[in-house]
Amino acid sequence: MSQENMNSNIQNYLNDFEKLGDDVKSDWFSEQRQSALSLFKETGFPGTRQENWKYTDTRPIAKNSFSNTSDQSISITTDEIDSIRFQGLDCYELVFVNGIFSKEHSRIDGLPENIVIENMAAALEKDSDLLKKHLAHYADSKVSPFTALNTAFIQHGTYINVPKNTVIEKPINILYLSKESAQPFASHPRNLIVMGEQSEATLIESYIGLDDANYFTNAVTEVSLSSSAILKHYKIQQESLNAYHIGNLNVMQGKDSRFESNSISLGGSLVRNDIHGQLAAEGASIVMNGLYMTNNNQHVDNHTRVDHLKPNTHSSENYRGVMNGKSRAVFNGKVVVHPQAQKIEAHQNNANLLLSDDAEIDTKPELEIYADDVKCSHGATVGQLDQDMLFYLRSRAIDEETAKSLLTYAFADEVIRDIGFAPVRNRLEYLIVGRLPDAELIREFTNE
């Protein structure tokens, strides 16, 4: 693509930004948006010459002229949502359709008085010192042009504030649903979760394409954990196979806080997930589990980064990938141990299963260690289905295709079975088995 085309597509975003107009109430927010836009204007979309984007070419996103002004007329039926909901799960639920909050379908009534769960647009309207203190403080527009773009377009999304010593018993389920619109569209969901001291919550973010629409989701989630706060976070990415998904998750962690991330990528044509955890006080810990399954021409890139800023902090990461067809996946796990961060532990593992000759994985662990009393480990493997296991199953009357499916499932299940939250675990088992041939038979192996 020529430079000129690239610029004209940036222009498209600049024009749409002008249309956002007068919904902004407060100066601080207006300034934040404006400076983010300026940054994006300056950098444009990232190119593959940048180390961070070496394996992921964003030109397919850049060359599209997505509409950033959402079409309010797209509606969704209760039946459509019910097919996606966790059956029988009592939860708070926020539903967004093509990036726009749907009050009608959301269920956030009956919240205890001190807890806030609301649409970001509503929170911005009310304005608050807390919002000002946290919003756009953890997701850095300088690090990713996509974060800058999201910040410029902040409107809809989820704002959650859990005050200190509060435990939300019910999980919070956020559904970002997308379906065909008159024009290909971009949405920029923005989530902010502020967890007070010793607070606890479970959050599920799902990004789901309801058909094979062409669209671009550019999501940013910021999390702030005060001391001893615990957040369990699940992200399930099932975008349309014609969709682009860029997701940035940024976590700032206080003393003895614990963040658990479970990131599952199944959909999308071009996908990039970034997670950045900052262990900014002693005793903070982060766990990152991930699973990506790709087929056909899908491209899925997972980048994670953990900064051990203080002593006695812990991180552990376990990502697995299954690539089929001509698909390509990227894993990059960076751990930075800062000079004063002694007695930390950081463990990382990435295992990959290639099911076809044309599938590809680029995996790269990156450790930067500036302290001397640390415990770090990392490992990456790339393999194919084990021939001895395959023969064993076949000699036990299991036909070749089923045997392959079974072993693939068993590989992916290493991540899934560690998921503590049963509704999500069951959903994922169902989703993943459903992607394999002979699903019924394999389901029989696990769900009786």
């Binding site: 064993y392 076949r394 192996f445 696990t446």
Partner: protein
């Protein structure tokens, strides 16, 4: 039941079987003995259809069919069972469900009604007694974390559940202490029947103290060089393999 004629097979570029002949009738138990490297395990793997074992000459006829034409699972459907020398661990695949899938795959391919969960569990409970399988092993992943003895016992347990017509036991006795050996042998003996043929591949005579074969064959350098009755095994135990290899 099984008729092997002039079988030649190689692994990679190395010829291992060099003209093996063997005829097994229904209900018979044959022991195949021989020194290390004589081709015993190769024979077992060729019969089960493992990749990488290339048959270059000869034929194997099983129940009137060309066994070598069949995929491993098709052999299993037809009633062939291999008890592995080194059963592989398969993390994430549950033992019980593997067995259920195996039983039903076989039934389906024979045009029989598949077993439901209750019928299957009744069958499993009955067969567990044969090899004194502990119930907790059943619900674990296939062979994962099993001791050597438990793995071998699991093989015989699977054999009991699948009720093959031709069972090939590849060094099932190796690595077993005397108590485990007795349990495994009792299990095998209980599965002897006029319709079922069994091939015992073994290095030592020890197993044959507990499972009495109808015929004993000595395999050396890819060929059967001597055949006889159970007394041949005792002779081998006493004199070793050298005299017979030299005589051949």
């Amino acid at each position: 039941m099984l008729n092997i004629k002039d079988l030649h097979a190689r692994v990679e570029d190395k010829e291992i079987l060099k003209g093996l002949n063997l005829n097994i009738k229904a209900g018979e138990v044959h022991a195949i003995m021989g020194p290390n490297g004589s081709g015993k395990s190769t024979l077992a793997n060729v019969l089960a259809g493992r990749n990488g074992y290339e048959v270059t000459k000869g034929s194997v006829e099983y129940q009137g069919k060309d066994l070598l034409e069949l995929a491993p699972e098709e052999r299993a459907w037809a009633g062939v069972f291999l008890a592995f020398q080194y059963p592989v661990e398969i993390p994430g695949v549950n033992n019980v469900y593997l067995l259920k899938a195996a039983v039903n795959a076989i039934r389906k391919n024979r045009g029989e009604q598949e077993l439901d969960a209750v019928e299957f569990l009744t069958l499993v409970k009955e067969k567990m007694k044969i090899v004194k399988m502990k119930e907790d092993l059943l619900n674990r992943a296939v062979n994962e974390g099993f001791s050597g003895g438990e793995k071998k016992r699991n093989e015989i347990f699977q054999m009991a559940v699948l009720e093959p017509k031709l069972a090939i036991l590849d060094e099932t006795d190796s690595g077993l202490d005397i108590d485990a050996l007795k349990i495994v042998a009792e299990g095998v003996n209980s599965l002897r029947s006029p319709e079922r043929s069994i091939i015992l591949v073994t290095h030592y005579q020890r197993l044959l103290d507990y499972i009495k074969p109808d015929h004993v064959h000595v395999l050396s350098n890819g060929k059967i060089i001597k055949s006889g009755g159970p007394e041949l095994a005792l002779e081998l135990e006493e004199k070793g393999y050298d005299w017979i290899v030299e005589a051949a």
